[in-house]
Amino acid sequence: MSPRVSCCAVATTELVKGVRTTRSTIALKLLMAISGIVFILFVLVHMYGNLKAFSGHDAYNEYAEHIRTVGTPILPRTGALWVLRVVLIVSLVAHVASAAALWKRANRARPVNYQVKRNLSSSLSSRTMRWGGLTLLVFIIWHLINFTIGKVNVSGGATNDPYNLLVDSFDTWWLTVIYLVAMLALGLHLHHGTFSSLQTLGYTNTASSRQRARVAGWVVAIVIAGGFSLVPLFTLFGVITK
């Protein structure tokens, strides 16, 4: 008798059995959400620390030194910092790898694009998560070269003084512009990312909790991206000086 009909090569007629939930797309999303929340917490603290620049040269440098000595003598110098760095690196790898996997999946799921497609409810931030995320990745690499690994002072000044390096950098208008663009990207990423992580973790089961998660997205985005933008802007306009 005739076999069951499957009209197309793409569709499968089998049912899968015994696939672990940890290998699902939702598990990848959970990984993104959790690593994303690690970053949200990190950038929140990082932003707060940056504001030390308003307290002047000594206070800022003291703070920079403190994060290297925190936890001593139980931990060696920069021990706590390295713990944090490892957490961040792991989170970054998890975040980027799962994003890449899901992106690839999405492209496979929609191989033919529409001739006309209208977006109804998605926000700009939600539609720019992938390219915005890549932008942030590039920025983070530059940022680490600029301030952490390479310590590049574009004005040619000293690089062993964190406060002076900061002021020299943001006195350079194009560097400030790069930073502000990056903060815009960060704000957008956080705006959808905050809501999205709460949704992925399953905390938005009602219309009101969903609304609260959306508000949280706005608050996190404005506070963090806004807070980060203060130091470069105030440096450029000469409020923060050497």
Binding site: M1, S2, R4, V5, C7, L15
Partner: protein
Amino acid sequence: MAAGTHYLSGLTATNGPAVQTSDDAEGFYVLGDKLVDEKTPTGPIAERWTTRKFENRLVNPANRRKLSVIIVGTGLAGGAAAATLGEAGYNVKSFCYQDSPRRAHSIAAQGGINASKNYKEDGDSVYRLFYDTVKGGDYRSRESNVYRLAEVSANIIDQCVAQGVPFAREYGGLLDNRSFGGVQVSRTFYARGQTGQQLLLGAYQAMERQVAAGTVEQFTRHEMLDVIIADGRARGIIARDMVTGEIETHLADAVVLATGGYGNVYFLSTNAMGSNVTAAWRAHRKGAYMANPAYTQIHPTCIPVTGAHQSKLTLMSESLRNDGRVWVPKNAADCEKDPREIPEADRDYFLERIYPSFGNLVPRDIASRAAKYMCDEGRGVGPQIEETGPDGEKRLVRRGVYLDLTDAIRRMGREKVEEKYDNLLDMYERITGENPYELPMRIYPAVHYVMGGLWVDYELQTNVTGLFCAGEANFSDHGANRLGASALMQGLSDGYFVLPNTIRDYLADGPFPVIDETHPAVVEAQQAVQERINRFMTINGRRSVDSFHKQLGQIMWEYCGMERTKEGLIKAIGLIRDLKKEFWSNVKVLGSADSLNQDLEKAGRVADFIELGELMCIDALNRRESCGGHFRAESQTEDGEALRHDEEFAYVAAWEWGGDDGAPVLHKEDLIYTAIEMKQRSYK
């Protein structure tokens, strides 16, 4: 009422066999032998089904694996049967023409499902549901079948709740009920206005579970085009894969048709676009009797036709008649006016005028006919629609009457009305573009359900051995008229509880001798199907399939619709015969037969509808009485109400195919009541 009937032991007949004296259809049919349902049970009515279930033979679980059943259709009856037989361990093959079993038209049922749970402690019982259903069906159904239906109704609710059907509940978390037309108890279970959808999804999910379990094999986008009857038994079907065009043979030990109703013979109906009679009609042509084909339910509150482009009609729940007042202008000249400008004195609240005691709440058929008469008189409202009149001439008629909520809004306040009918009124506005809070709604009757269908015995087996029929497709339990919220009950009753218990007695004799595609009956069926398709593809005429379907619909609606007359029906038979000739010489089907070809699919269906239409007219012509959904103008009371002639017509008209050139053969099955007394319906 029911109290008196308790004296009825179920052992003595309360009426005698029918003796027909009139013969309106003389010359259009051949009288055949009387038909007796040999499976009909005896004994006290309350014990008949239990006894039968016990007496029917069992199939041992190990043997079930060796038995196979084909089920065509995946609505409430077919889906439920597939799931249940699959669970029992039989090999089931399920077919549907849609892209998924979940789309079967049971999904569109709105109101609810009756069950004699008596949760309201308002005096409901199995007997009362039985009584209401037989009375509602105008005493044209089999009492044993209806009693069984009432009996298993409670199990249906249990089953559906266990499957996760989200019925409406009260604050305490228990199930809620509402009341429905024609009865005085609250026994209708519902899931807002989407009860059919929720019940169907329950059956669908149960069936999909069996697909995963490997007991049910699912064939979507497959249309059954013939039944295979080999060595005296139904042993399989010929189906066309609608995607590839391949003609496939599927063989089994038994075949179940659960293919729904044929309301689309009228072209415009509340049925789905794809609903068709083909499976049942092909079986009919192979010997299965078609019973009471003329019994059609026409629902009074549908959204009217807006023009020749109309492809289907949409039902508005009947509940609107509780609060709405139905009227037309007194003067035909006012019909074009904005209804708000027509003063009270110039309005004719015709239902309240003609039926002062029941007013707007008269039964469906009466309300429908009254609306038709108003429009025939030229007092209809809404856009003028071109239609072909009884004389075959085109005319422009307004087909609509007002259903006015103004008084209700004044009395209850707009908010209350919104709360009660919001979904419906939104739907109305979406379709018509008119706001029902400001303008009176326009409604008109539409074909909704057919009580007729393939003849089956008490065990749901047709007169063809091994061919079973369930749900709306069989002539069923509703007699000449179906009560609201009973279609869902019957579909699920047949599928979950009745068929699985009766088909096992048949399958106990199986497995039947293995046949393969070389069997002459298979070869013959395959060839016939192939030839028919080739014929459609090569006629190469000038008219589209739809144009024939529309024309058939106009004939049926005009002459075999709400009101039927001898002259009209005879004329219709002639028109249909001419149409059939033209169809087979002038239809145009483009594309190829070996790919998805929606015109080819429709051509086959319309060809069958044409033949069915003729039989419906002959049946209507023969039945010179009015009962339930069948109204013969010659048989009415002074008040224009339906008048039955029990002494002549208390029988099931089972029609045998008489060949392409022959006349159909009428077999009468007497309806003998033992547990209920026949009464004339009265709405005084």
